[in-house]
């Protein structure tokens, strides 16, 4: 992988993705394979909005590679509160660490940060923009369960605001994947994402109803529909109910359908689904560590 930073999933070619996933698989098979590959290396964790899970996953990955982390802490306790720019913050932090993992509420924050520093920047989420390490772990999970060629995937829920969905959809255009987008009309994919998918020559179909496509799917990727997207409670309840999964929903699906979710879930996947063979979301979350190890391993490599 020949990149200085990981900013968007869009920058990754099929070969890049396969390099990361192969290395992740090697770390997954044999955790000791990572050894002390990055002993004495420090990764700075700059989280300008809270995301405990993503932060822990990066921290675990750094430590499993033999390295360690320095954590900016919460925004409330940092100089950001005093009005320091992001550009200045990352220039200071660059002096402490061999790489920066950045999460920030503004879109394009990681790209801008990368223009101010010489160490690798990993985008761990920039507002409604990108979250490429999530995309890579999603791809890893899909590959483990269904392969990445000649499959049908359903992506359901909040497709308008869900950045995980946008990154994943774009990354999937590198593979022979039929993508079905299932959402209420008001939460359809935004224009810019549809434009990209179209440009990439993707096979994209949009549906308001899961029933029509469910029997053909190899993977169903569910995302949360947030209450605040709806003007009133009743409308939310109605829509949320329509786009949730129960064991009964899955009767119509292929036996080996993999149900995925970026977590945390609320009630879009009923707890009873956890007991089915289709439930893949916890494994998906665990895959974050080997995938982020692979990513850091490739980005921090000096040669």
């Amino acid at each position: 992988m020949r990149h200085d930073h990981l900013l968007t999933a869009k920058q990754l070619s099929r070969a890049d993705i396969e390099t990361v996933l192969d290395r992740a698989a090697a770390f997954d098979d044999d955790p000791t394979a990572a050894g002390e590959r990055h002993a004495d290396e420090l990764l700075a964790l700059c989280f300008f909005e809270p995301s405990t899970r993503t932060k822990m996953s990066f921290e675990t990955a750094a430590k499993r590679l033999g390295g360690d982390v320095v954590d900016m802490g919460s925004v409330e306790s940092s100089s950001v509160k005093k009005g320091e720019s992001l550009a200045d913050t990352v220039r200071v932090v660059e002096g402490y660490a061999d790489g920066v993992v950045l999460r920030h509420p503004k879109q394009g924050a990681a790209k801008m940060a990368s223009e101010h520093v010489d160490v690798p920047v990993v985008n761990a989420g920039d507002g409604a923009g990108h979250h490429p390490s999530q995309t890579l772990l999603d791809l890893y999970t899909i590959r483990e369960h269904a392969g990445l060629d000649d499959i049908s995937i359903g992506i359901m829920g909040d497709l308008k605001y869900g950045r995980t969905v946008h990154s994943l959809a774009h990354a999937l255009t590198n593979f022979d994947v039929r993508q079905h987008f299932v959402s209420p009309e008001s939460l359809r994919l935004p224009r810019s994402v549809r434009y990209d998918l179209h440009e990439a020559g993707a096979q994209v179909r949009e549906h308001e109803d899961l029933d029509a496509v469910l029997p053909n799917l190899d993977v169903l990727y569910v995302t949360r529909i947030q209450r605040e997207r709806f003007p009133d409670e009743d409308e939310y309840e109605e829509v949320a109910g329509e786009y949730s999964i129960t064991p009964e929903t899955l009767d119509a699906a292929k036996d080996d359908l993999a149900v995925m979710h970026p977590l945390p879930r609320v009630d879009e996947i009923a707890a009873a689904v956890d007991e089915t063979d289709n439930a893949t979301y916890f494994e998906q979350a665990h895959n974050g560590v080997p995938v982020r190890m692979a990513l850091l391993d490739l980005l921090l490599d000096d040669d």
Partner: protein, 152 residues
Amino acid sequence: MTDTELRVSKIQNGTVIDHVTAGEALHVLGLLGIDGTEGTTMSLGMNVPSDRLGRKDVVKVEGRELSDSEAEVLSLIAPEATINIIRDYEVVDKRRVERPEEVGGVLVCPNRECITNAGEPVETTFAVLEDGLRCEYCGEIVREDITAHLRD
């Protein structure tokens, strides 16, 4: 345009933007940040007969030369435009606008959640698409009325 007309509106130092797509002259003024209140001497020709374009607009501005990034945005509003730089009544430079691969600085990203609108030291950059512009930071697409997104 006839010689007489040219003489009437001849300028001493400044820019003549010729072959502007008919109807776009006011947008060109917007691009230059001219609304008449700043006292700039200028003249406009709108829907002037043109051999090349059928009809065209012409904008003449005294005491003002176009920057490179203004010329880039001009190319998006008026792809056929020619820019004549005038010094001491003489045309010292004449060039056609070229459609750039990206435009920087002059435009503001309409996405309020974009890092370029967050008080950071960063200039906007837009990739020029076939039918619009795309923010290189947040991915927002601007398709219609580019001049509505000019920086103040």
